[in-house]
């Protein structure tokens, strides 16, 4: 595709349920990033992938959060046993490589609401 896509665009779930968020990066981009954006706040780094490996998972808030990437393309972010504080927009970005000189291109995000 022409840009980074994310699905679903909106997700409403009940507290305690598991959710999966999907990110399709730009074709050929080896680096992929996940961020969380709470209402009116900046982006909070969660994890990034270089290829299929995740060199830095330090931003994952708890062990309820996990992410994987297969085939150097699609990535899924899974949140288990969701809590109300997980409500936020989850943004994905991709770049040619994880480098300061390579521009990150962002997707439109998934708005997660936990009731």
């Amino acid at each position: 595709g022409a840009g980074v896509s994310q699905s679903p665009s909106n997700k409403v779930t009940e507290k305690g349920k598991d959710v999966e968020l999907r990110c399709d990066p730009i074709s050929g981009h080896t680096a992929l990033y996940w961020y969380r954006q709470r209402l009116g706040q900046g982006l909070e780094f969660l994890i990034y992938f270089q290829g299929n490996s995740a060199p830095d998972k330090s931003g994952l808030p708890s062990d309820r959060f996990s992410a994987e990437r297969t085939g150097e393309s699609v990535s899924t972010l899974t949140i288990q046993r969701t809590q109300q504080e997980d409500s936020a927009v989850y943004l994905c970005a991709s770049s040619l490589a994880a480098s300061g000189t390579d521009t990150q291109y962002f997707g439109p995000g998934t708005r997660l609401t936990v009731l």
Binding site: G42, A98, T101, P108
Partner: protein, 115 residues
């Protein structure tokens, strides 16, 4: 750990005028990148401008320019000839060279351009 501070939660400017958004950061690193991103109300984040810390010359991109003061750890964004389409939230971000996947973002400045 790096921190990024944007001290102006909201700003406004008249169309065609110039506005400057402030950003300060804290780091012990010597090699890093600084970015300004724009997030219009539609939510998709885009890169506005990038500055490499080892370059003394301030980056410019058309109507957008930065004032990078490395010793003061200051990185402000100047928007000249403001246009209605510049209305957005602007985020300052930091990326260190040794971990080029993990960006640190400020909390953002909401800019409104008035006709």
């Amino acid at each position: 750990a790096q921190t990024v501070t944007q001290s102006q939660p909201e700003m406004s400017v008249q169309e065609a005028e110039t506005v400057t958004l402030s950003c300060t950061y804290d780091t012990s690193e010597s090699n890093y990148y600084l970015f300004w991103y724009k997030q219009p109300p539609s939510r998709q984040m885009i890169l506005v401008i990038r500055q490499e810390a080892y370059k003394q010359q301030n980056a410019t991109e058309n109507r957008f320019s930065v004032n990078f003061q490395k010793a003061a750890k200051s990185f402000s964004l100047k928007i000249s000839d403001s246009q209605l389409g510049d209305t957005a939230m602007y985020f300052c971000a930091f990326l260190k060279n040794t971990n080029a996947g993990k960006s640190t973002f400020g909390d953002g400045t909401t800019l409104t351009v008035k006709p």
